[in-house]
Symmetry: C2
Subunit: 665 residues, 2 copies
């Protein structure tokens, strides 16, 4: 044994993802509540601290831990600033407090021949004085040591428990033989827009809703101002790069394309058309120039919003990589490049990349540089297309590379796949993830899924972005349920998750599917799309109201503060979110039935909110403005999918009386 | 990224102790059933193997894993030979079987233009032929490749599923892009006596039971032969080293000692008395010489038994370390050495060692050398006194050091302390552990504890040694319950655990306590003790019967094959043990009431044993020799603490008929 032996066992640290292999996530200002088994041989008193710092170096901050019983300890800390952090635990046998404890037992047993013990205690205090350096603590400790040396048994026993001495001895503890747990546990703290945002997705070419031709970047302001008026703050564009011509798809995913059809933005890269080379670092000429794009990014930023771009690693046969780096692709036996397939389907307009080709380092570097290129153009939010079909190791590497230069970079994983892969991508570094929310409609499955997402371990690494719909997904619930279904899904997404989004057209209640599928008929992925963005029956006002409620109620910025409550009706979901101080509490009762009225008793968890059993409280409906005066936990709510799909209540409490009237705040 | 990226995620491997920080334990011939989450990006077919080898190097053995669903995989292997092993998992995307799967889908969809796919498949087979080297596999694969190249779509589709080709492609898979999980998981496989043994503890000085003087090593054969006749196979001696004189304790732990009193063997080391220096590497002169000890070890071995020694790190004030290495001990302010205390109790006859003194490396080396010294004298089993009062890091180090030279060394942890420390010592390397068994008497607490010990994760690292009593512990149950209680506890210890032990005197039903304590009155720890080792009322015959049943029934060598079954009486415990092949099944019904008769229905798990609901089976009582013919699961047992404290049944099944009679085997 060459290094100093471990003196204290520190085991089963939580939160810990795969033995600190991956970082836990927190929002800025989030708390990390740490627990561990901490013990050592013998009967010494123990002391333990949780320690944290910026990842990789610098001074540790510290907070004391306390025993919970059965050798389990707990402590916590809060990380205010975004960035990469790490924490660990330091623990040691406490010589002074072990001494104090033994002295106490001897004294209680009537022993008064304690001169040796007293001198021992004085020596502990003197050595603390030395550790304290030159300040007032040192002087005070020296004084205590002097008194201890002069004390008889009774005086020493009293002095050993002097609160000031004990506090000083805690601060200047002897940590020579302490153990610091390894590996350190990483924590990623994200900036606010990563943890609280409302996304609005639209295709720039559809900005004006013209049926026969596309809009440009310069035509997008109307759509953006409309999104802002609705309260959205992230504008997400599907790919804006030149679109391949070879095997270009026509409308409704047709394998033949008519002249003038605009093509699928996901068939990326056309070296013949791009002013800037035509690949992932270029913009489609029909949208404008890079300069136009920069202008648009600036306009969005001026409005207090941010642009998110799609990062789709799809290469059309016309992509410059195909010509410059044919070795980056898979080959067929005849030497030609393989197109994508999901047998029996063929995607002849897209060539997949081979991430493990012999020249993989150059490929990985190039893909990183694509992201960095757009960071250089003011974009720091990336929605990543199908990350689960590329190596996890690539994502872990590339996200770390980008975040090293752009710590505010946000990555949204568009993986709709099996749970373990979705979780792994989140652990590997994705800031946010698409979820199964889109297909959770029944009360039991919503409750189960919301509970899973917002409790450990999932809440420690997986941050949901609840999308109501996407260009690829028109859920059956929206197809069948019509306008009330759109209200319902909007309430669920916007209230249950601090990050959510809609794909444009949702506000118009567009819901015509390809028959028998969860896909849009005449999808704008394949064609120009005529639209009246103010068509009658739209729910823009309702969405604006939801986003206003979000912006005005801090409880809705929380993720794991969601609590499910009892509603005595299988079509009513009832949940709440509160700030820690309870100064903002939102209660949501939402119907899950888009057809018929539903009513039932709901149970308000009065105890959690500090409301007495017979105390009057007010629930202000933030949609309708009504005030409901309730008393007691169990109250009736009546919901109607057409008139009142949800109550979104803000809890108001009695603050006192004014002019004989009870005042609620 | 400098090294090759991980291609497959292999996560949540089980069994795994603290992320492979500690070894799991197995008996020789034990199975390791491994599971893990295994997945990768995309839609490739996966293959996975569990691999194992001697720790630190050499060839890997391999066994295939199979998917359980939801990305969980399972596989297993068996370790026949004792020693240190390690295992891991290797997984990769299976290009050939992914190809086969895609070909199948295309073929099923009616595609017949598959020339490119066929050539691709042929290339996969050719590269497997290369990997196969020069043998018959290579020739066969070349032949398959040739056929594939010549095949049309239908023939290729058939060939792709040829069982012989598939088997060869599994064996010669392309593992270029495989991932091997790290860290490797250590496994310790112990020799048989570590996992199946009956211990008999006696003080050599008490061998002949003389009231006024001690026996020597040369006088021990009678006691050893008696133990052998009872069926014990480990003879465990408390410390045999010279006993300190300074502050020597007198009988019944008196702090004053009369002339001629023999002292406590745990106050170790008397440099004035020892022929060989007087410390831990010496024997007390009153017991004989090292030569006498060597002779005794040889005699024990001749009888097919083994000696276990106590390793008690206690130094009397007369220990040579005190004089040669005063810096190894704790000091008082006046410079004198601190004696042991557990305030308000003082142990002035023992000085504790400071394991973190400045010269700790020399101390640790010396303590290791003590163990190696006794290994050199033919002892490889060590019962370690109070390991929980010495650093865990020391035990982890010293056990590894000793096992590196003596792989068969066995360490029994005598820690009666809180659960996490007991578990940690087992993880750190102790082969066996004392347990809470000694204080588990009620049915619910026995069932709970037996279940905890024999299921993961505890069964993977903690191996119980059930002691009925020790020189320090005369359990209240034995004090109160008299002779029937001794029968009951012997049945429980010997049948529930493959490793168990008694402290001598148990067979005589000695149960006179220090009033109000769980300690022996007139304990031989402090004095000579007169005994008639064949005193009337002894249970030597019963113990001999239990040990004979153990030796004749392989099911009782298993640890985690214990299954608890229903007995409709809170004073009857009913459990079974079976070999994996079910060729040996033992069922035990034991009363927990030492006072009154108890009867009740027990439920035999017929399904587990492959017995039909209306099939006749025989339970042979291995104590009484009676045969019980039962039918159906639920049957009545009647137990009497004085006549029949337990049924120990061997299950016998119908094997056929002979001369018109049903035959049971």
């Amino acid at each position: 044994m060459n290094k100093s032996p471990e003196t204290v066992a520190i085991r089963r640290i939580s939160p810990s993802l795969d033995n600190a292999r991956f970082a836990i996530k927190r929002a800025a200002g989030g708390e990390v509540a740490v627990e561990a088994d901490i013990f050592k041989e013998g009967h010494d008193e123990l002391a333990a601290l949780v320690k944290w710092r910026r990842a990789g170096g610098g001074e540790w901050s510290e907070a004391p831990m306390h025993p919970l019983g059965n050798d389990r300890w707990a402590g916590s800390f809060t990380l205010a600033e975004p960035g990469d952090w790490e924490f660990t635990i330091e623990a040691w046998g406490e010589v002074f407090f072990s001494w104090q404890h033994e002295l106490e037992k001897k004294f209680a047993a009537g022993q008064r021949e304690l001169q040796s013990e007293i001198l021992e205690g004085a020596a502990f205090i003197e050595s603390a004085a030395k550790r304290a350096g030159k300040g007032p603590d040192s002087a005070a400790l020296k004084e205590f040591a002097k008194s201890m040396r002069a004390a008889d048994a009774a005086a020493a026993h009293g002095l050993a428990h002097d609160p000031k001495l004990c506090a000083l001895m805690r601060v200047h503890a002897d940590r020579t033989l302490s153990t610091v747990a390894e590996p350190f546990h990483p924590v990623v703290v994200d900036r606010e827009r990563a943890t609280f945002a409302a996304w609005y997705e639209f295709f720039p070419r559809s900005a004006e809703g013209k049926p026969d031709s596309g809009s440009t970047f310069r035509d997008c302001l109307g759509r953006i101002d409309d999104a802002k008026a609705m309260g959205f703050d992230v504008i997400y564009f599907p790919p804006i790069h030149p679109i391949g011509e070879t095997n270009r798809k026509g409308c409704n995913n047709s394998t033949t394309c008519q002249p003038g059809e605009p093509g699928v933005p996901y068939a990326i890269g056309n070296r013949r058309q791009g002013a800037n080379g035509g690949g992932h670092k270029d913009v489609a000429p029909e949208l404008g120039t890079l300069g136009d794009f920069d202008w648009l990014v600036g306009e969005v930023r001026k409005r207090g919003m941010e642009v998110a771009l799609d990062f789709a690693i799809n290469c059309s046969p016309d992509h410059p990589y195909v010509h410059e780096h044919p070795d980056w692709f898979f080959k067929r036996p005849d030497g030609s490049i393989k197109y994508a397939e999901n047998p029996p389907k063929k995607y002849e307009d897209v060539y997949p990349l081979n991430f493990h080709n012999a020249d993989w380092r150059a490929l990985w570097d190039e893909l990183r540089d694509v992201i960095l290129f757009w960071c250089g153009h003011g974009v720091e939010i990336f929605r990543v297309d199908n990350p689960h079909t590329k190596p996890i190791a690539f994502w872990e590497w590339v996200i770390a590379e980008v975040r090293a230069k752009h710590p505010g970079a946000v990555f949204l994983s568009e993986a709709f796949t099996k749970p373990k892969m979705m979780h792994e991508l989140a652990k590997a570094g994705f800031t946010q993830s698409y979820t199964y929310f889109t297909w959770r409609n029944a009360k039991w499955e919503l409750e189960e899924y919301l509970a899973e997402l917002t409790t450990p371990p999932v809440r420690d690494f997986f941050r949901a972005n609840f999308f109501t719909n996407t260009p690829d997904i028109l859920p059956e619930f929206l197809q069948r349920g019509g306008r009330p279904a759109f209200h319902i899904r909007a309430v669920l997404a916007a209230m249950a998750s601090p990050v959510y989004g809609i794909y444009s057209g949702f506000e118009l209640c567009e819901n015509t599917p390809v028959p028998g599928k969860e896909e849009y008929l005449d999808s704008e992925k394949y064609q120009f799309k005529g639209r009246d963005w103010n068509a009658p029956g739209n729910i823009k006002g309702y969405l604006a109201r939801l986003n206003k409620i979000r912006s005005e109620n801090r409880a809705l910025r929380g993720y794991d503060n969601l609590r499910l409550h009892k509603a005595e009706n299988d079509n009513i979901l009832f949940f709440s979110k509160s700030t820690e101080s309870l100064d903002n509490t939102i209660l949501v009762a939402v119907t899950l039935d888009p057809y018929n009225g539903q009513g039932g008793f709901v149970t308000v968890p009065l105890g959690d909110f500090g409301i007495g059993g017979d105390e009057e409280y007010v629930l202000e409906d933030l949609i309708s403005g009504e005030w409901f005066h309730w008393r007691g936990a169990r109250n009736f709510v009546g919901l109607d999918p057409h008139q009142r799909p949800a109550h979104i209540f803000r809890l108001r409490r009695q603050s006192g009386r004014e002019a004989g009237q009870v005042v609620f705040v």
